[in-house]
Symmetry: C2
Subunit: 317 residues, 2 copies
């Protein structure tokens, strides 16, 4: 392991931070060891999840939140998870523009993560990057995601407080709200609140909230913002603070942390076990041949898995 | 394993089919053995993926496609993957209504899958259910998903032909199109084509397609439909057929099948290895205690994983 790099990281060097994140994201050989070294310094940051459809203005909202937290003397980490381009990779233009506006402030560290190529899944990679930022003393850490896929929901589960960003007049209101997000939102933000349809959207949210089962006894508030105009931001920051305070002592939060720990452990186990088994059973890359045989239907994957488990000493008990 | 059940399944018994799907979905003890038995009978069905936002009318469209395929004498399987309610489970109302209209036709088998509780992920569970329907002689098998999360993209990769359903006037057109779907669509459907904004949507799709990198040499056509009125359905069926024909002989398809085989193998390996290791290392459920210790930050997950790997004979080589 690169002790000099860790040393620089602990001294607060931003380039060391960036390099460590890259290693962790790419699952380089020493990445788990690095995370192990950082672990004692983690667990302090408040994690704020922000989710919303494309076009809901959530990036602008996050930028406004960032400015407000900076004014309160906080050092932020922002992780923009961008699942929009799983087949091409690369940061999207919007993020590059953002990094030019906020990125000059050394108190804000912004990282974009594309979906592509995360062994163990995007949620794991995001959890690891959160850990690194946490160890680097960033607090709060804002994790921004699009949409409502299972991956995004896993990511939102990392958060202590989850914001769902809605926009008035969003297509079929109820349909848009249906998709799982009512149950993950701790705070609902109706952004672009200068547009028509705010009251209708608010009623739709309230109606859905009255139906949804909610754990933990927190009644999610609705905050109206106009991120581009900077309206409602302080109220939102204050609301996030109340929610953090509420959950800090709740059994719901303990349960959530436990679920996150289990998820983390399972994903790490999968990754390490599969890698170890494949290295052992197919030391010379015979895996590709076996994959071809399955694709050509000359073998079935179930039998192959049993063979791998038997061939690793693992199966012999 | 329940040989009588398999026997009934092979005789075409629908209740046996339903029970086998349930076992496979729930990962019951004999599920992998069942899949192994079914494997020789799979690989024949054409798999059609249908993805689109909530409100795009894709369920109605799938129903219309089903009727058309039925008229051509085909026996269909329809899998409606519903990631909308990950925390509550259960089929949504819409699917129950559908099953009343189409479900009386023994030539159509409809199954709803919620996100909740699929060990190994929703994509794996969907792949397994596709295999069961394939072995039951359903062809084509239509897999219908919402949205553009990573999970949905994995599901779409199962398909031989992927339809992306759009609606004119959908929010910010470009934003909605951005999200990865341009690269997974083989056929673009502009549904609700009696609404204003069809030309604008068509231009947006064409513009995005001209930018997107496409493998395999297929130029995705755009088909306009009005599912509620039954318009454009035959053209869509014909277009799907052309696309199937195009890919049947393409190297792109071989590559896609290879990727699917690799994915399948890896997920099965993860599942079996983790289960075997946990049973061996924590035979009496000590896993919960370890998870608690991680949640309370008394242990770090990285060290726990190393301990598990060492404690299973697996680590000793």
């Amino acid at each position: 392991m690169d002790n000099e790099l860790l040393q620089q990281f602990f001294e607060g060097d931003t380039r060391a931070l960036a390099r460590i994140i890259t290693r962790v994201e790419n699952r380089s050989a020493d990445s788990l060891e690095i995370l192990q070294q950082l672990f004692p310094r983690t667990g302090k940051a408040e994690i704020i999840g922000v989710t919303g459809s494309p076009g809901s203005g959530k990036s602008t909202l996050v930028d406004r939140l960032a400015v407000s937290y900076r004014q309160k003397g906080k050092k932020l980490g922002i992780i923009a998870v961008d699942p929009s381009s799983p087949f091409t990779g690369g940061a999207i233009l919007g993020d590059r523009i953002r990094m030019q506006t906020l990125g000059t402030d050394p108190g804000i560290y912004i990282r974009s993560m594309a979906t592509r190529g995360h062994l163990g899944g995007l949620a794991t990679a995001t959890a690891d990057v959160v850990s690194v930022l946490d160890a680097a003393g960033k607090d709060p850490i804002v994790v921004e995601t699009v949409g409502v896929g299972q991956d995004e929901i896993e990511i939102v589960k990392l958060a202590d407080v989850s914001l769902v960003v809605l926009v008035p007049g969003m297509g079929d209101d109820i349909q848009a709200l249906k998709a799982g997000i009512m149950e993950i939102g701790d705070v609902f933000v109706i952004n672009k609140c200068d547009r028509p349809g705010v009251d209708k959207m608010e009623r739709a949210v309230l109606a859905m909230l009255s139906l949804a089962h909610r754990a933990g006894g927190w009644q999610p508030p609705i905050v109206k913002t106009s991120a581009t105009k900077g309206e409602g931001i302080e109220e939102l920051v204050e609301t996030i603070g109340r929610c953090q305070e509420f959950f800090r002592t709740s059994s719901h939060r303990i349960q959530k942390k436990r679920e996150a720990a289990r998820q983390r452990l399972m994903t790490l186990l999968e990754e390490r076990l599969v890698n170890t088994a494949l290295q052992k059973v197919f030391p010379n890359g015979e895996l590709n041949r076996v994959v071809d045989e399955i694709a050509e239907r000359r073998q079935d994957p179930y039998s192959v898995v049993e063979q791998i488990i038997k061939s690793s000493t693992f199966g012999r008990s």
